[in-house]
């Protein structure tokens, strides 16, 4: 049951050109920094990335964009990235924008074996075009399908060798949903521990969903919007 791999390079070695990846994180918070770096190094191409955001120019998924490794982004918000904008406007990059809750729930649906879910988000808007609308109790809902991703690459705070994961604070975000949703899930953790060191009641992602785990290193954890108040 030992799912430990040596490092990020080994973890992503079979991610092939044209793969569909779920990539955890919200903005730059809780992103799998090591796995992204390994994908950059490997220079795998034509990726479809399901990720709430697309990083910034020189960090997160922006690093893959710089090398033109991404064919298509499936995201809810992609605002902070000039190279992204350039590729989008030039037609090099496809983008599918999805309401954030729909994005999250479609990841979860995959992990829960639910082929489709219903959500009111997007009813009556261009998001609804081509989609089945159903009325339940007087309210309209769109039917949205579970995502089908070849790999999920996610980041947790602590993990054990069986793949059980715990996230820290709001770096949780999409990570547990994608961990459940990927066909093969690769988790990088700040602290890799022995089975038994994590309290079974506190595990956010049971190891059954995780296929490979490794101890990450050199986390930068860049802050996107540093907001502070003066000490009173």
């Amino acid at each position: 049951m030992n799912k430990v791999v040596a490092n990020a390079v080994e973890a992503v070695k079979d991610i092939a050109d044209g793969s569909t990846l779920m990539v955890g994180g919200f903005g730059l918070c809780g992103i799998p920094e090591n796995s992204i770096a390994a994908l950059v190094k490997k220079n795998v191409k034509n990726l479809t990335c399901i990720s709430n955001n697309a990083g910034v120019d020189d960090f997160g998924l922006g690093l893959l964009l710089q090398q033109k490794q991404i064919k298509k982004m499936i995201s809810s918000y992609v605002g902070e990235n000039a190279e992204f904008e350039r590729q989008l406007l030039s037609g090099e990059l496809e983008v599918e924008l999805i309401p954030q809750g729909t994005l999250a729930t479609r990841c979860m649906a995959a992990g829960y074996g639910m082929p489709a879910i219903f959500t009111p988000a997007g009813v009556g808007t261009e998001v609804a075009i081509g989609k089945e609308v159903r009325n339940f109790n007087g309210k309209d809902y769109l039917m949205e399908y579970a995502f089908d991703a070849d790999f999920a690459i996610i980041k947790a705070w602590k993990g054990d060798k069986h793949g059980n994961l715990i996230y820290r604070s709001t770096s949780r975000n999409f990570n547990p949903l994608m961990a459940m949703g990927g066909k093969i899930t690769i988790a990088e953790v700040e602290e890799l521990v022995e089975p038994g060191e994590l309290d079974p009641d506190q595990i956010h992602t049971p190891g059954i969903y995780v296929h490979r785990i490794f101890q990450g290193k050199d986390y930068e954890k860049r802050i996107e919007q540093r907001t502070v108040r003066a000490k009173g």
């Binding site: 999250a104 808007t125 820290r168 709001t170 999409f174 502070v228 108040r229």
Partner: protein, 218 residues
Amino acid sequence: MLDKNGIAKRIAKELKDGYYVNLGIGIPTLVANYIPHGVSVTLQSENGLLGMGPFPFEGEEDPDLINAGKQTITTLPGSSIFDSALSFGMIRAGKVDLTILGAMEVSENGDIANWKIPGKMVKGMGGAMDLVASAKNIIVAMQHVNKAGESKLLPACTLPLTGTNCVKKIVTELGVFDVLPEGGFKLLERAPGVSVEHIKNSTAGKLIIEGEIPEMAI
């Protein structure tokens, strides 16, 4: 006429003790600064936090603790953290009492447009479509007219919609308006120093004025 803080201050009067509230980016964020005395509300941030606290003190920023605007924040006693699906689950289930957000346009039947301008780079809807489709009560905080001087309270939205039939109330620099279930913007209060005539001239959608309109007290 109200400035941004004035709009936020007026909206804050709509908060009731015990409310769970989701605040959008921009003016709505400022509402947190004016929560009335004796009213306790819990702020939800849709990236996965209930009980959002103020910005951290300088040097105490935690990169793992941000809000939906990607700003560093803090938790409060009684906060809870969860994943994005549960976050929108509680929004869809109507557990969030009030959503306050900005808009580019609102129509007299409560449609809202706030995510896309054709011809401009589209950044995405983020969580806005989920929020407006789900919230029991939605207040829009916005300027009454756009930079070209055109009304943002319209008979029908001209921009791509974020959601339909959802906005319940609007607060602008000119006044407070209910969006009636049968359609129309019902003027409830004028901003200090703003005439009904001024509001009429600035409102393209159907404006409903009944009796004397009080000047708001903020």
